[in-house]
Amino acid sequence: MSDIRTDITYVSTGDAEFGDYIALLKPRVMSLVVFTALVGLLVAPGGLHPIEGLAAIIFIALGAGASGALNMWWDADIDRVMQRTAKRPIPAGKVGAKEAMSLGVALSGISVIMLWLATNALAGFLLAFTIFFYAVIYSMWLKRATPQNIVIGGAAGAFPPMIGWVAVTGSISLEACLMFMLIFMWTPPHFWALALFMKSDYHKAKVPMLTVTHGRKATRTHILVYTIALIPFALAAGFTSIGGPVYLALALGLNLMFLHGAWSIWRRDEGTAEADGYKVEKRVFRFSLYYLFVHFGAILAETALARLPIYAEFAMQFKFLEVF
């Protein structure tokens, strides 16, 4: 008789598929990181060798993935409780918590050192700080401590375009800061619009979400306030070297529409929202995705258009913030 069983039907820790390790790196978050970091890298003055640029994007994405794995390791207990996250590799029993932590730490080290070697020390430091910020400041500290967690935690998602820019230039400039602020200020209204219509079970996991701690009316007010605060940063970018008339026209339109959406959310009460299935909240959430995508797309378009001498000369009139 053989000692080897071939009738095993369950999946236990250590039997993970390759895809489970990819899932630990949060590939959907990674796609946003790749896009914004790529824009930061392409619009920065100067330029990198294409292979250096490719390496920079890969290691920035890998760093983001590493922080995702560390987040899943730390949050495994609350992921188990919540329906949305119960199927993640750790709560599903496919990957061990310590294995996820080891993967996160190893990928953090590799991504930071490789980005440093491929580009420069400041870019490597910023990536290390981003991982630290997301894994320690956000996941370990703020997420379970304050309903403002998403506001401060949003910084982690805002660093990639700055890192892309720094990878090329070696220094932080006004343009890099404005791209950072664009994502940083956009995150709260985007996330809270989602929180209003997603009946999440955060309360079961004892995670303080604004909708639970301060109520839904307060969340609506917060969405409006943060949207108003976002507008100056979005428009200011249009007057720097990464902006121009095309960006400004698009940004003006998008910000007016976003403001209108936030205003509509603020005016509604819970009864009306529930009656129409959170129609406005869902529309604003979807729009917020386009909002960010088009802003960064317009920044990229400005750089491409600037190759045309006639356009570049015309666009220079708008870029008066470059002197600072």
Binding site: S2, I4, I8, D15, E17, G19, H49, L54, A55
Partner: protein, 66 residues
């Protein structure tokens, strides 16, 4: 006794091994490409020989004028 039946577990392990092999090969290719790109540029390589070289010193007027 040899394993004659391939279980789902073996497929998962095989997939994991192939995945890791692809990742490692891609990493090697990237580091190789990066090395070629850095060597082709070549400028910064001269700065790290642990001894003062006047020709690399931007404040050295005598060498700047050359």
């Amino acid at each position: 006794m040899a394993i004659t039946r391939e279980h789902d577990l073996h497929k998962r392990r095989s997939g994991r091994n192939i995945g890791l092999a692809v990742v490692l090969l891609a990493f090697i290719a990237l580091v190789f490409g990066l090395t070629i790109a850095k060597v082709s540029g070549g400028n910064t390589l001269q700065a790290f020989d642990h001894s003062y070289r006047p020709v690399l010193d931007p404040d050295n007027v005598r060498f700047q004028q050359r």
